[in-house]
Structure formats: C-alpha cells, structure tokens
C-alpha cells in the first residue's frame, strides 16, 4: 500500500489559516491502514484545528468527510453537491488523491495533509517499510523475491557493495542490506549459484526517468 505520514500540525495550520470554511477529506484505504489520513485522523485533525483557531479568536468552520478512495472519479463525485460552500479542502489522502481532488474540483484550493512516502508493507502496527519503487519492470523473479531497487540504498543490481556489515546497510544499522537478504533467500531456495549471473544494465525508461507514466488497457476501455 501507499504509506504516508501526517504533516506536522504547524504546517497544516499555516496552509489553511486564512480560510473560513474548510472540508477535511480523509481516505478509507492506504492512509487509513497507516493511520495517517483515515476517519479517525480526520476527526482528530478537525478537533485540533478547531481548538487552535478558537484560541486565536477566529471562527473557522470545519467539516469532515472520509471517502472510500480519492483516486477514483466515482467516489470524488459523492461530494460534488457540497463543494461550493468550502473555501478550501484539506485532503488527507496520499499525493495521488490530493491531485485527483484538485483536478476534479478545479476551482477549489486543495491542500495536502499528509506527506506521501512510499509503497510498502506493515511490518507491525506502527512500523511501515518500503518495498517497491514502481520501476515498471519487475525483476523479483531473479532476486528471490527481494527488490534491490527499492531496498538497496544504492539500487545495485549486482550487489552487495563493500559497505555491507553484519547484514546491515552502511547508511544505517536499522536497514537490512538488501543483498544479504537476497543471498540468504537464494541459499534457502538452493539457488546460490545464480548469484554469479551478472544482472544486465537496467532500462530505466519505464521508471520515473522516462517521464510520467501511463497504463492503457484498450480491451477494457469503454
């Protein structure tokens, strides 16, 4: 899922402080799972902002809504009738949702309430870690199911580098060396001889480097 983190409240205040009536829009999917922008977080932010502005002697109307997703038209349409009354929307969806909201409601300012971080997993409640960078050409079949592009700090396709120490990356003791993980798993799967195969130079044109991407399925288009 997409993992995001709440923006510091000071930053959020700065974004919305000149408005009189705002809508805080949460999302029921990824940001709910990583406890950054779901219904609960919307309620807490609304309450906190309310108190802040009261303290400043300012009247601020804050409405709350949590949509199923903010990356699909049908869910964003649900609030079409109410949008005119708001000076701005504070979206707690990931960067995708914030943008789609902004495109859908072209004349309403939309602000991000979270920092979108990466595609990752819930290792345990409260700990989310990166797993995928969307390179567009998955090589997991060759690396025993562990991605060197997202989990190696140097995205080496023929690692490890000389800085790998006791299974940890040279940049942090909290980071596993991706190549140690790959080697361990290759050993487990009795495929360690594959280690010596040289991975070819990657075609990065399917990644961010090639420009904003687009997937089209003519067979399902209406």
């Amino acid at each position: 899922m997409i993992v995001a983190e709440k923006k510091p409240i000071e930053e959020v205040i700065e974004m919305v402080k000149d408005f009189r009536k705002i809508l805080i829009a949460g999302c029921n999917e990824c940001v709910t799972v990583c406890e950054a922008g779901g219904k609960k977080e919307v309620a807490i932010l609304a309450s906190a902002l309310s108190m802040y502005f009261m303290n400043q002697g300012k009247k601020m109307e804050i409405d709350e809504v949590t949509l199923e997703r903010q990356c699909d038209h049908e869910y964003l349409e649900e609030i079409r009738n109410t949008m005119d009354q708001y000076d701005a929307v504070l979206s707690l969806a990931c960067g995708v949702g914030v943008q789609f909201m902004a495109e859908t409601y072209f004349s309403t300012p939309v602000y991000p309430g979270v920092n979108t971080c990466f595609m990752g997993v819930t290792e345990e409640r409260g700990v989310w870690t990166e797993r995928c960078q969307g390179c567009g050409e998955c090589i997991l079949g060759r690396t025993a199911g562990i991605c060197p592009i997202s989990r190696c700090a140097k995205r080496l396709l023929n690692g490890p580098c000389g800085g790998s120490t006791k299974g940890k990356c040279e940049i942090s003791k909290d980071l596993d060396c991706a190549w140690q993980l790959i080697i361990d798993r290759l050993k487990e799967l009795d495929r360690l001889d594959e280690y010596e195969q040289i991975a070819p130079i990657k075609d990065w044109s399917t990644e961010r480097a090639g420009g904003p991407r687009r997937v089209v399925r003519e067979d399902v288009r209406q």
Binding site: P8, I9, E10, K40, A43, I44, S47, A48, L49, S50, M51, Y52, M54, N55, Q56, G57, K59
Partner: protein
C-alpha cells in the same frame, strides 16, 4: 467509601481505559473542559491485557496535540491505581483539580463565551 473529592469533576465511566480514544479527550477540551484525567488500572493488571497501556499512549498523543494548538498539554494526564484504592482516587482528583486551577481556565473558553455573547 464516600470519600470527598472536588465537585468540579465530572466522572465518565468506561469499562476499560482502553476504550478512551484521542478524539474523546480532544472533544472534551473543544467543548470547554479545563482538564481531563484518565484513571486506569495499574500497569500489568489490566483485565483486558493492555487497554491501560493504549490509553497511556493516547493520552501522550493528546498532550502533544494540545500543546501544538495552544491549549496546554499539562491539562491531560493519566493516573493508574487499583480498584480498591479509594483514597488514592480522591488524592488524584485533588491533585488534578489543584493543578488545573493553577493553570487557569481552558483558553478557548474565552472564544466560546464571546461567540455566545
């Protein structure tokens, strides 16, 4: 036990402090409460295992938010005691009340009063 504790306290009973969420604490302050204290079982004695531990973390979260919005994080606090410790309950009640009295009223009350006027 019929011990005396300040009558400025409104008690809200919950089956376990684990039921108290951050939003409940914040809403209390939003509506003008000067202080909120959460009284739970001794750590390790929770009959639902870790409800009181969750409550502690939520109280901490609320404290951070209350500081950030200018209401004052010291207005919320967690206390732990066992259900047989009546006198201690009264003690905490007095402690909390005194502290809040010292801090003064919830600053957003001024705004609410102005609104009402």
């Amino acid at each position: 036990m019929r011990l005396r504790y300040p009558d400025s306290i409104r008690i809200i009973r919950v089956p376990c402090t684990g039921k108290v969420d951050v939003i409940h604490i914040l809403r209390a302050f939003e509506k003008g409460a000067d202080g909120v204290y959460v009284v739970g079982c001794l750590e390790g004695d929770c009959r639902f295992e870790n409800g009181n531990l969750r409550a502690r973390r939520r109280v901490d979260q609320a404290r951070t938010i209350l500081n950030a919005v200018g209401v004052g994080g010291d207005r919320v606090k967690m206390f732990n005691l066992s259900s047989g410790e009546g006198p201690r309950f009264a003690e905490y009640a007095v402690e909390m009340t005194d502290k809040i009295r010292e801090m003064g009223p919830n600053p957003i009350k001024r705004f609410r009063e102005k609104q009402a006027a």
